[in-house]
């Protein structure tokens, strides 16, 4: 816990924390199918996390709650891939991961109906017994958090999640329509974002209060509003103002802003300097992390970014070499967490992930 948070405070801990984000990889590593992991007894998923932790020698400085099952049946808010809005497929194979079947469920002509009837209007039929059981599951998630944070002193990636309104709309409208709407009807999209942000912040607030996480990481999903998807102008008007509101709440509640930044954010790095003072983790995927160190390293802790191609197809030596470079450049002076870009590929070979762990142990210690 201390090692991880020292890095977040932009200082040098005893060594660079080793914190690859895992979810379906836990199932793979424990030898169970994605279906057993997501839809089985919570205990099965919990044991998969423990098994993975110990198979990697107990050297991981962070674990993650089995989030797939939360997405599937618990989340009535359209935070990323909620099963309330779109079908999800869970393969019954080892090494598989949950698949989000993107089908547009919202048209811009229905926005007025959403203001009147809310997003529950878009819920699809779900097996009620499964919804109820997943609601009970939340107690097990609290137990899981207590085990890792209080008994093992290992921080959790996050216990809460929020998302910017524009990104949520991409899942609901479908990426093609969404791209058209943001160019053709920016005012209508802005009006909808104004409507959504209050509810998204309120939901996150209650999750924080209920989860009572010791790690105090506030996950903000930043996947489809990067430079890979939108222009700087759209980012300035339809993303940044809402991101600032989310950050303001996190800062006021004493939380660390954990930005999960998939795809490429490099052209938008300058905007991050506009964010208010506070504690941040920029978890980068395909962005230029070395440039991030240069431009943002004085204010933001960086996390990442062994990408999924290397995880799955690289050799242990290639992984060691890349991690060494990450530690030497990004770890200089502290403020760096060695991890994956996004999450560990569900079918990544064990020895490749162990190569990341070994590199962290070999090159990560700071000379005091």
């Amino acid at each position: 816990m201390e090692r991880f948070h020292t890095a977040v405070m932009l200082k040098e801990p005893d060594r660079v924390p080793i914190a690859p984000l895992m979810d379906y990889y836990y199932a793979n590593c424990a030898g169970i199918t994605a279906k057993e992991y997501v839809l089985g007894d919570f205990k099965t998923a919990m044991n998969a996390v423990k098994k993975t932790y110990w198979r990697h020698g107990g050297d991981l400085d962070m674990v993650h709650i089995p989030i797939g099952r939360v997405y599937a049946f618990f989340e009535p808010f359209p935070a990323a891939h909620s099963g309330f809005y779109s079908p999800l497929q869970v393969p019954d194979t080892i090494g598989g991961s949950l698949q989000f079947i993107e089908k547009p469920v919202l048209d811009i002509s229905e926005f007025d109906l959403i203001y009147e009837e809310g997003f529950s209007r878009l819920w699809r039929p779900l097996p009620i017994r499964q919804v109820r059981r997943t609601q009970i599951d939340f107690l097990q998630i609290l137990k899981f958090a207590d085990y890792w944070e209080n008994q093992m002193e290992v921080p959790l990636y996050t216990m809460t999640a929020t998302i910017t309104p524009l990104e949520t709309l991409s899942y609901l409208c479908g990426i093609t329509k969404w791209s058209r709407y943001i160019h053709k009807y920016p005012e209508k999209m802005q009006e909808m974002c104004d409507f959504m942000i209050k509810g998204l912040i309120a939901n996150d607030l209650f999750l924080k209060k209920i989860a009572q996480s010791r790690s105090k990481h506030s996950y903000v999903c930043l996947e489809r509003v990067s430079a890979s998807f939108i222009s700087p102008k759209i980012f300035e008007t339809l993303v940044l103002p809402y991101l600032k509101q989310i950050v303001k709440m996190n800062n006021r509640m004493g939380y660390i802003n954990l930005f999960h930044m998939d795809t490429d954010w490099t052209p938008f790095f300058e905007y991050f300097r506009e964010l208010p003072k506070g504690h941040y983790i920029l978890h980068l995927e395909n962005s230029d992390i070395f440039k991030a160190k240069e431009l943002l390293g004085d204010r933001f802790c960086l996390m990442g970014n062994l990408n999924s191609t290397l995880q799955k197809l690289g050799t242990p030596q290639q992984i060691e070499d890349y991690c060494k470079k990450l530690i030497e450049v990004c770890g200089d002076g502290g403020g760096f967490i060695l991890g994956s870009g996004c999450e560990i590929a569900s079918d990544a070979p064990f020895e490749n992930i162990q190569a990341l762990v070994n590199a962290g142990k070999k090159y990560g210690p700071y000379r005091k």
Partner: protein
């Protein structure tokens, strides 16, 4: 816009609950927050009762007490009404509507 967390960290829970309600059920949407008999019966089914009891373990008791004291009974109750009970009732209502449409 009323901020739900002030500069000093004070939380306006009533506003947050209202924002939550409007987001999920809209300005005019109807919500059913009653715990119906069949819901209670669901939890009393032996397998579900066992499941709930197994989920409820000693280490989480202090956490539940912390949640209770952080939010208070009234707010926690309202949160569960909106985010747990009303969700199930809305899903049932929508399933009923869908069955009605198919019957037509």
């Amino acid at each position: 816009m009323t901020e739900i967390v002030t500069e000093t960290g004070q939380i306006n829970y009533e506003q947050a609950l209202e924002d939550l309600k409007v987001f999920l059920y809209g300005h005019k949407g109807k919500i059913d927050i009653k715990l119906h008999l069949n819901d209670i019966l669901f939890y009393l089914e032996p397998q579900n009762l066992l499941f709930a009891l197994r989920s409820f373990s000693l280490p989480i008791l202090p956490q539940i007490i912390r949640i209770w004291s952080a939010l208070g009974f009234k707010r926690l109750h309202r949160y569960f009404q909106l985010n747990i009970i009303a969700v199930v009732n809305k899903l049932k209502e929508r399933a009923k509507q869908r069955r009605g449409k198919h019957a037509e």
